[in-house]
Amino acid sequence: MDAARSPKLIAAHDAAIVVADLRKRYDQVDAVKGISFVVRAGTTTALLGGNGAGKTTTLSMLLGVLTPTSGAISVLGCDMLRHRYRVLPRMNFTSPYVDLPKRLTVGENLRVFADLYGLRSPTVRIGELASEFDLGDLLKRPYGNLSAGQRTRVSLAKALLNRPDVLLLDEPTASLDPDIGDRMRTYLEDYQRASRCTMLLASHNMGEVERMCDDVIMLREGRVVDQGSPQDLIGSYGRETMEEVFLDVARGRSDERDSEASPRAISA
């Protein structure tokens, strides 16, 4: 974790995202209290924590829609706070906090974002995603008429329109039934393997985290309290699942353990 405070050093280790001493203060509330971490290129990393831990705040700062109080963010070697437009075309995201225009059809929405991202063949790409996300029957339907699960699939399709090198996912499968959720995870895993895309996902689904993620960053009250691979964390907490590790961290039971051993950095 401390190594992340030297972005140049980490950049040499093929880091896709480097966050150094990032802080966000809203009026009297410290939402993020000086976090540092590294996400290796081509990996999937989870940002875990209870409600109010700072996950969405951190993702928002990574995307450039929220200005940090202090700290540094580098994405694909680019300083996000100064030159975000150099890297935004290579990024994308989904979040339950945003939506798409409800009166536009799914196809129209995807076409608008395909144009915003400068796709040369939007129709072809939309066709591919419609096939992969089973959206064929939905393309001509208004987005506002879709179920929550269908909207989530459309949002994921929108997030993959530009074949992003960095994909930030905030609760990507939260409203999907187990079948569709599993298919989405499989698709994201396949996409990640094929494209070597770097994914950072905030999720409360610990099964999803164990299955998809190479690394986990655990947040509590705006601080990074632990990080490592799911297997390492499960082992070091003496638990059997990430769910149990999550509960230990969320309920502060990791503090006793921390007094014995300091948090480990994600192995580069």
Binding site: L100, L116, L119, S121
Partner: protein, 280 residues
């Protein structure tokens, strides 16, 4: 993704052409919305047309007893149509922005490669389209029902249209900033704000009728110069260049203030986390 593959799949992201492409995407998004809803299209022309009809009948009623209406029978109709250019110009900017807030789409737009200046240009372009649809409908009915063509004004009409539209844009951007700053609860401003300048714009009467101190306020508005200029064209038949240049210079100032206010408010929203969470 390698550079060659990226070049094959994507247009270049930098430069004027890329900017124009992103602006076109925004226009496409709003055009989809407008063109699929005939009630929405009709409502855009409805209010300007009804107002025009009211003033046209008032003209018919007053014309036999009013000298200046005998000289310039299209006086009130021209005034109301030009007023609607200002109103629709402002409304076009504000409503385009409100639409993004209602849709909770600002987050998607501001994490895309879309620049703030492109977002603003998209809003202004939509304002032109909305104004042309709204006022164009009223102009058509003015010709159809009363045989009055505002286009008979010629070049001055183009000048007045442009000057009023630009002033409407600046107010529209300031109103959008207020709505972003204070939330959709301030939405009423989009409809009401423009009427603050109506009494001092001299739409239907000369600025000279205002109290002295209020005349000073009026001359600080581009709209007062435009409507004074319109009266000069209709009643005296000459184009008052001094009012044209005064309005143009004031437009530059107001546009700078409008753009700066909007940009600062977007920056404020970035600091306070409103871009991702703002919405219905």
């Amino acid at each position: 993704m390698g550079a060659d593959e990226a070049n094959a799949l994507f247009y270049p992201q930098a430069g004027l052409t890329a900017s124009a492409r992103r602006v076109r995407a925004l226009i496409r998004r709003h055009a989809y919305l407008l063109l699929k809803s005939w009630p929405r299209l009709v409502s855009m022309a409805y209010y300007p047309t009804v107002t025009m009809v009211l003033w046209a009948f008032l003209t018919i009623y007053l014309k036999p007893t009013t000298n200046f209406l005998q000289d310039a029978p299209g006086f009130f109709i021209g005034a109301v149509l030009l007023w609607d250019v200002l109103f629709r110009g402002q409304l076009g900017v504000s409503l385009t922005f409100i639409e993004e807030m209602y849709s909770r789409n600002l987050g998607n737009l501001f994490v895309s490669p879309l620049r703030l200046r492109e977002f603003i240009i998209g809003q202004l372009t939509m304002s032109v389209l909305r104004t042309l649809i709204g006022v164009g409908g009223a102009c058509f009915f003015a010709w159809l029902l009363f045989r009055y063509s505002i286009f008979s004004m010629g070049f001055p009409l183009l000048a007045f249209f442009t000057l009023l539209l630009a002033f409407g844009w600046s107010i529209g951007l300031a109103v959008s900033a207020m709505i972003l700053r204070f939330g959709l609860g301030a939405e009423e401003l989009a409809w009401a704000a423009i009427f603050l300048v109506a009494p001092v714009s001299g739409v239907y009467y000369p600025i000279a009728v205002l109290p002295g101190w209020l005349q000073n306020v009026a001359w600080a508005l581009p709209s007062a110069h435009v409507f004074e200029g319109m009266r000069a064209v209709l009643l005296e038949g000459n184009f008052p260049w001094q009012h044209f240049w005064a309005a143009a210079a004031l437009d530059v100032v107001y546009m700078a203030i409008g753009i700066a206010t909007f940009a600062l408010t977007i920056n404020h929203a970035r600091v306070h986390g409103k871009l991702l969470h703002m919405g219905e």
